[in-house]
Point group: C2
Chain length 412, copies 2
Amino acid sequence: MAIVVQKFGGTSVADAEKIRRAAGRALKAHNEGHQVVVVASARGKQTDQLVADALELNPNPPKREMDMLLSTGEQQTVSLMAMALEAMGQKAISFTGQQVQMVTDAAHGKARIQNIGAERIRESLDAGHICIVAGFQGVDDEGNITTLGRGGSDTSAVALAAALGAGTCEIYTDVDGIYSTDPRKYPNAVKMEQISYDEMLELASLGAGVMHGRAIEFGKKYDVTIHVRSSMDDSTGTLITHEVPQMEGIVVSGATSQKDLAKIALIGLTNTPGNAAGVFAHLAGSNVSVNDIIQTEVNSEKATLSFTVARSDLDAAKQAIEDIRKQIDCESVFIREDIAEVSVVGVGMRSHCGVAENMFKALSTNKVNIDSITTSEIRISCLVDLADADRALIAVCDAFELDKPATQRAQP
Amino acid sequence: MAIVVQKFGGTSVADAEKIRRAAGRALKAHNEGHQVVVVASARGKQTDQLVADALELNPNPPKREMDMLLSTGEQQTVSLMAMALEAMGQKAISFTGQQVQMVTDAAHGKARIQNIGAERIRESLDAGHICIVAGFQGVDDEGNITTLGRGGSDTSAVALAAALGAGTCEIYTDVDGIYSTDPRKYPNAVKMEQISYDEMLELASLGAGVMHGRAIEFGKKYDVTIHVRSSMDDSTGTLITHEVPQMEGIVVSGATSQKDLAKIALIGLTNTPGNAAGVFAHLAGSNVSVNDIIQTEVNSEKATLSFTVARSDLDAAKQAIEDIRKQIDCESVFIREDIAEVSVVGVGMRSHCGVAENMFKALSTNKVNIDSITTSEIRISCLVDLADADRALIAVCDAFELDKPATQRAQP
């Protein structure tokens, strides 16, 4: 009997009817002969409500107490789903993160899973139960409740699948899979049949919000295929898997645009060892996350160091730069807020030439000016004017035929 | 530094403002030099809402899952109260029942505390924290979450006070103490300054809902004075303590009336060993709780066996009696639903004569007919017509001067 792990997000368990439907799906897999583990999130807007309750009492609530509070949302869902299954005549048992020994570090609010002692789940599965495990939460070495951060239930589910040796983790959501780009921005976007972990990690880091990076990393590390699919029907969604040979033929799998960025450039920075490190250490110390660093030499002594940050972090970043300017030698600081980033991702880039050329041509044909360019092995990103962002994404999607199934696209 | 345990019920933590007020009270005790442990219930109607959510999915939810669900209410309150204290600049930490090792048996929904490993609380107190512990909940040997049943947070608080060696447990509530009788039924009822554990146990068993019997038993067993007081002001409430000599002078401390009863009489029951035991074993097997058993011999072979049950249990009791009648020899079964019980309680009865006489005289003067009488060492109860119940209680309260402070009452 194979173990199947099914994860249901907040919208898929928002009310009694949806909890019943999710329970029915778990029961179906059980009746097909599988041992079923369900991972569930908090119902609908419960977490938002709890956050509001907390902020009413403390504008800056201690993270340990926040985890204690928020973890109740998932605990409620799992007990309710166990009740729903029992009402269907199926033995079911719910567990908190603590009860399945989902051990994490003590970084409240963004804890990382260190170990899962899944014995209790195995015992219950062998006794014929469907097991329902609270997602998003764990427990540290001292028994404090922790949470895994945004999208943490996905990570719980994939990590449990890994610990239980389940080959696949099904992520049920309100969309039917992962699209080549955001269909709200490019209505002809197509659903991908499969995508590699590495591509999905790039897309996740570019703000394509379907799945959390940590969950994808777990899948990659522990060989768990992640199946993102709709909770509303039985159609196949998108499989996130190891790279397989046919993926090489797909030059660009997906495209994204990000509009919530700002660019900071330190101009005329004296190019001595440790200067750049000092800047980024100081930004990290201010909890500013930095993307897309570019350093260009102006001459043998001076360089320009530029990078992007989330626009919500811009004030903190400005302050951090202001502080560090006393220690580094830098002629001026240039900040641009009206900026966006358009990116294409695909493992086929490794073996195909002309992808960058194709992208730049599509942008220039559409009169989109490129501010700067960064690349990874499987990604090309261009900073463009914020006003051009939507047009730029459409141009790039058209150029790489992201409105067609991957196998029908022309090769560059 | 003395340890103080403060318990706040659901109405005392119903919203942010009330949580802040409760937190302020804990902080005051802390600032007076005490080590403070707070035990809190679920906010306002949260538990009712969770029960409704459960019943929507399963009309007969498994008790283990119900405990898993309901325990979240208290967990939310304690984390919120810790946040409120931190916002006041006070170090605070919240704990679940599991985290303080409130170990119970596995009787979900009515678990009994077996052991409390309070080390984690002591450490946190010594580190200068106010500790906020979720009431009502515990954990069994296998790590399942349990709940202690109605009024369980009182029991949590008194048990914690016992485990921590705190001499007093303060129970904050929306009334300012315990009254000689229910002021809604007898407006001149007076607040008691103190009452013995045994009297309070009798009153609790008679439906005076101020405190749960288990909490009082813990207080008695482990020498914890229970101080029932108002969460709205600083006035002294009622102390529940061991019997002290001056209590002997108080013949009747309190009176109660119960209207939710039914009386069952098995008439002409063959008086052979085991017959009565069989009846009550069968009732217990049907989860019917029996009060006030009276057996009277009709002749050397036959007896009448009568008892009361909660009216909500009457259908189950009737069915159980119907079943057992096949095995016992009984001429007829008589059931009375229009019945009520009026009781007086007081440790002074042990050393004073004439209490029963005084009670019966008060009832007869007021034309209340007595159906039957039961007594314990410190209690006299009369079954009366339901229609006479209110009048009977007032007559008895007047007779024993329950409108006067205990020390000013005339002796019989």
